[in-house]
C-alpha cells in the first residue's frame, strides 16, 4: 500500500510526534508501544497508551483510554470535530468505535496488517454502513512506529497462553512495505519472539 500525500503534512507531523512520544513512554514501562492523541482545534484533548495489561482486558486499546479522558471533560459531540493521531492504524474494533462516535479524521503511522480496520485488513472507516465514513491518512513517521513495535516484540511477555512456535520468525532490521500489530497479537507471539531474540544474541556472542 502506498500512502497518498497528506496536505499540510508538517502540521500533522507535529501531533504524530506527540503520539510517538506516548508510545516511547509506553515502551519504557514495558507496555505495548502504541500511542495516540486526540486533537481538537489544534489542542490535544486526550492521550492514550494501551491499558490491556492493567485491566486484564484485551479491548482496552490506546484509543479507548484516550476517549475515557476526553469524555470526563467534554461532551461526546466534540468528537465530530476532533482528529485522532495514532502510531499504529486503529484495529477493526477501534475503527468501528471511532466511526460510531463520529470521529472527523484519523492519521496513523504504520499499517496494522494483522487486524487493522482502516485499510490494513478491513476498511471499516469507509465501508457501507449506517454511520458516516471518515477519512484516514497513513504513513506519518511510519518507520519509527514500526521500530517501536519491533523493539517491544523482543521483550518478554509471559502472559500469553501456550505460545505456538512460528517458523521463520526472525528479528528483521529493514523496513518492509507493510507492518505489524497491536497488543493482543503481541501477547500471543512475543514469547517466541523473545526466544528468537535470545537465539540471535547467542549466535552473536
Amino acid at each position: 500500500m502506498v500512502f497518498p500525500p497528506i496536505p499540510n503534512r508538517e502540521y500533522h507531523e507535529h501531533f504524530m510526534r506527540q503520539a510517538i512520544q506516548m508510545a516511547e513512554l509506553a515502551l519504557a514501562s514495558d507496555e505495548t508501544p502504541v500511542g495516540c492523541v486526540f486533537v481538537h482545534s489544534g489542542e490535544v484533548i486526550g492521550r492514550g497508551i494501551n491499558g490491556t495489561n492493567a485491566s486484564l482486558n484485551g479491548t482496552r486499546h490506546a484509543e479507548f483510554v484516550a476517549l475515557a479522558e476526553i469524555m470526563s471533560r467534554h461532551p461526546q459531540s466534540i468528537l465530530t470535530t476532533t482528529d485522532l493521531y495514532v502510531t499504529v492504524e486503529p484495529c477493526i474494533m477501534c475503527a468501528s468505535a471511532l466511526r460510531q462516535y463520529g470521529i472527523r479524521a484519523v492519521y496513523f503511522g504504520c499499517l496494522n496488517d494483522r487486524f487493522g480496520g482502516c485499510g490494513g485488513v478491513m476498511k471499516i472507516h469507509s465501508d457501507p454502513g449506517v454511520d458516516p465514513a471518515y477519512p484516514v491518512y497513513g504513513g506519518l513517521f511510519r518507520e519509527e512506529a514500526i521500530m517501536l513495535l519491533r523493539r517491544f516484540y523482543v521483550q518478554e511477555n509471559e502472559k500469553a497462553p501456550e505460545p505456538k512456535p512460528k517458523k521463520n520468525r526472525e528479528l528483521k532490521t529493514e523496513i518492509l512495505p507493510v507492518t505489524v500489530t497491536q497488543p493482543t497479537a503481541a501477547a500471543a507471539k512475543s514469547n517466541m519472539a523473545a526466544a528468537r531474540a535470545g537465539e540471535l544474541k547467542h549466535q552473536m556472542a
Binding site: 485491566s55 484485551g58 479491548t59 483510554v65 485488513v121 449506517v130
Partner: protein, 539 residues
C-alpha cells in the same frame, strides 16, 4: 447420512425426550425465573416459539463456495491410465500448488456430467482428421455360413470393440499450454501408437471444476452432478471441523451435569439482564451472558446489559452524536461491558504475580503523564456491575484463576454484535458465541451479504471465522423454529432451506419494523419485545 450421524441424532433426540419428560414432572413444583421459555416438541402448553442452534456460515464458505478453476482432461483406455498419470505428474511442474484432492483424478464416463463427456474438443478441431467409420452408412451383409442377411452398424461395432475408458483430470490449465500438453501426450501410449490412437484419438478438453473442497455431502453431490465427481471428506477447510461443531452443539443444548445452564436458559438470562438495565433507563435492551465451561460444568462468570444511555458524568445527559440512531456511549454496549467485567473479576481474583504486573502497568499510566481519574474511567467503560443482577454474578468468584482474557469462554447475546463488539470478542479469544437476533445493518458476525429471494441480509463481515485474523470462534444464531410442520429435529439436508426461510422472515420482520416502530408485537414471544429499537442500531 452416515451411521455415526444417525446415532448421534438418535441419541440426542432420546436424551431430549427423557429430559422433557423430567421437565414436565418437575415443572409443577419448581418455578425458575429462567424457565419462561417452554420446551419444544408437543410439550408446549404456553404459546411460545422454540429455537434451535443454526451454525453461522463463515465468510469463506459464502465467498469461495462456488469458486471454480479450469482444468485439462483427457479420455483414455483404463489400462493406460496409471502410466499417463505418471507422465503428467513428472512433466507438468508445480501442479501440486493447487489442491484438488476433493476431485476424482480418474472418472468413468457414466459418472461425468453430460456437458463434460460431450464437450467440444479443441485439439480435434486443430488437427481435424476425417474418420471413415463415422461417415460410412450401415451395410447389409451375408455371413459365409448362412443365407441370412444382417445389418451391420459401424457404430455398434465400434462400441463393442472399445474397452473401458476413463477421463483423467490432468491439471489446472494455467500450468501447461494446450499445445505443450498435446505434444507431451503425443509422445506416449496410447496416443503415440498408430494402432491405439486410431481408436483413442487424443482429445484434450477444458473443463470447469470446483476449486475448493465441499463443506457438506449435499454440496459434493451437487458439484458431482454439475462439474466433476467430487468427494466430501468430513472436513471443512473454511470453518470449524464438523465433529467439533457437533460436540459443541451437544454441550450447549444438553444439560450433562446437575445445575448446568443450557443455551435456552442462558439466552433467557441474557434477555433478562438487558431488560434490567433498560427499565432503569440505562440502555435499550440488549444483554450479554459470559459462561465458563470446565470439565463439563458451566459457570456464569459475567452478565451485562446495554448501558449506552447511562450518563458518563454525574448530572449530565448522554447525547447522540448521530441523529439516526441511539449511539450514546459506545462503550456501554453489552458485549464491551461484559468483557470489561470479566477483566475486573480476573483482576480481583488474580494471583500475586498477575496483580503485581497489573499494578505495574497501572503505574505506567502515571509515568506517561496520563490522568488517573478512576471514577471518570469507570463511568466511561462501565465495566463494573450497575444492576443487582449484574452484581450477583460479579460477586461470585467462580472464574478459573489467572485465566487469559476471555479465552475459550462462551458468550450468549440477545443480538448480533456490532463490528466493534465482534472484534472485541476476537481480541478476547472467546470460544463460542450464540446470538438470538440478526442485525442485518450493523451486525459483524454473519457472513451472508444478500440472498436472491430476500435481498440484503447482512454486512458480510463474518468476523467469527476470518482466516486473516489471529483468532476464530464458533458462532450460532439461536434461530426460531418453523411455526408449522416443524417436528423439532431438523435433518441436515433441510438445514439450509430452513435457514434461508428464517433469514427471509427476519428481514421481513425488520422491514416491517420501519412502519410499526415501537408498536407492541401481537405475539407474546418473550424475545420479540427486546428489539424495540431501529434496525440500524449498533448493538
Amino acid at each position: 447420512m452416515s451411521l455415526f450421524t444417525f446415532l448421534f441424532h438418535a441419541s440426542t433426540s432420546l436424551f431430549e425426550h427423557v429430559r422433557h419428560l423430567l421437565e414436565q414432572l418437575t415443572s409443577t413444583t419448581m418455578a425458575s425465573p429462567v424457565d419462561s421459555v417452554a420446551p419444544s416438541e408437543g410439550w408446549v402448553t404456553k404459546r411460545s416459539h422454540s429455537h434451535r442452534l443454526v451454525q453461522l456460515k463463515t465468510k469463506e464458505e459464502c465467498r469461495l463456495g462456488n469458486e471454480t478453476i479450469q482444468v485439462w482432461t483427457v479420455e483414455l483406455p483404463s489400462r493406460h491410465a496409471e502410466w499417463v498419470l505418471k507422465i503428467v505428474k513428472e512433466q507438468v511442474k508445480d501442479q501440486d500448488m493447487i489442491d484438488l484432492q476433493h476431485l476424482r483424478r480418474f472418472a468413468k464416463p457414466k459418472f461425468l456430467p453430460q456437458h463434460v463427456v460431450g464437450q467440444r474438443d479443441k485439439v480435434k478441431e486443430m488437427y481435424s482428421i476425417p474418420r471413415a467409420w463415422e461417415s460410412t452408412p450401415f451395410a447389409v451383409m451375408q455371413a459365409p455360413s448362412t443365407t441370412t442377411w444382417e445389418y451391420a452398424w459401424p457404430k455398434n461395432t465400434k462400441q463393442m470393440n472399445r474397452p473401458q475408458t476413463l477421463h483423467l483430470l490432468i491439471c489446472p490449465t494455467r500450468f501447461i499450454q494446450l499445445s505443450d500438453l498435446h505434444a507431451l501426450l503425443m509422445q506416449h501410449t496410447p496416443f503415440c501408437s498408430s494402432a491405439d490412437s486410431w481408436a483413442y484419438p487424443l482429445q484434450i478438453k477444458e473443463v470447469t471444476v470446483p476449486l475448493l473442497s465441499p463443506t457438506s455431502p449435499q454440496q459434493a453431490d451437487m458439484w458431482s452432478r454439475d462439474y466433476w465427481p467430487t468427494f466430501y471428506r468430513k472436513t471443512n477447510p473454511f470453518g470449524a471441523h464438523p465433529a467439533t461443531i457437533w460436540k459443541a452443539e451437544d454441550e450447549l443444548q444438553n444439560v450433562s451435569a446437575p445445575g448446568n445452564v443450557d443455551v435456552k436458559e442462558a439466552m433467557t438470562l441474557a434477555k433478562t439482564v438487558g431488560r434490567e438495565t433498560e427499565i432503569r433507563g440505562y440502555g435499550i435492551g440488549p444483554g450479554c451472558v459470559i459462561m465458563e465451561r470446565v470439565d463439563n460444568v458451566t459457570q456464569i462468570v459475567a452478565v451485562a446489559g446495554d448501558a449506552r444511555s447511562k450518563p458518563v458524568k454525574a448530572g449530565s445527559m448522554v447525547e447522540d452524536t448521530n441523529t439516526h440512531g441511539c449511539n450514546g456511549n459506545i462503550m456501554g454496549h453489552a458485549v464491551m461491558r461484559a468483557i470489561g467485567i470479566v477483566g475486573r473479576k480476573r483482576l480481583r481474583a488474580a494471583s500475586h504475580i498477575i496483580s503485581t504486573r497489573a499494578a505495574k502497568a497501572e503505574r505506567s499510566f502515571e509515568t506517561c503523564g496520563l490522568g488517573h481519574d478512576e471514577q471518570a474511567r469507570d463511568a466511561f467503560f462501565l465495566d463494573l456491575p450497575i444492576t443487582p443482577l449484574e452484581e450477583k454474578y460479579f460477586a461470585d468468584d467462580n472464574l478459573v484463576p489467572d485465566g487469559y482474557l476471555c479465552l475459550r469462554l462462551e458468550v450468549y447475546l440477545t443480538h448480533e454484535p456490532c463490528m466493534m463488539c465482534s472484534m472485541a470478542l476476537v481480541h478476547s479469544r472467546v470460544g463460542r458465541v450464540v446470538f438470538l437476533h440478526r442485525m442485518p445493518q450493523t451486525g459483524g458476525l454473519t457472513a451472508e451479504l444478500a440472498r436472491n429471494d430476500s435481498g440484503p441480509v447482512g454486512l458480510g463481515y463474518g468476523l467469527c471465522w476470518r482466516k486473516e485474523l489471529n483468532w476464530q470462534f464458533m458462532c450460532w444464531e439461536y434461530a426460531e423454529e418453523q411455526k408449522k410442520g416443524s417436528t423439532g429435529k431438523v435433518e441436515d439436508s433441510s438445514t439450509t432451506d430452513h435457514h434461508a426461510q428464517h433469514i427471509a422472515r427476519a428481514t421481513l420482520d425488520l422491514t416491517g419494523m420501519d412502519t410499526d416502530f415501537n408498536g407492541e408485537d401481537d405475539d407474546d414471544d418473550d424475545y420479540a419485545s427486546v428489539s424495540s429499537f431501529v434496525e440500524s442500531t449498533h448493538v
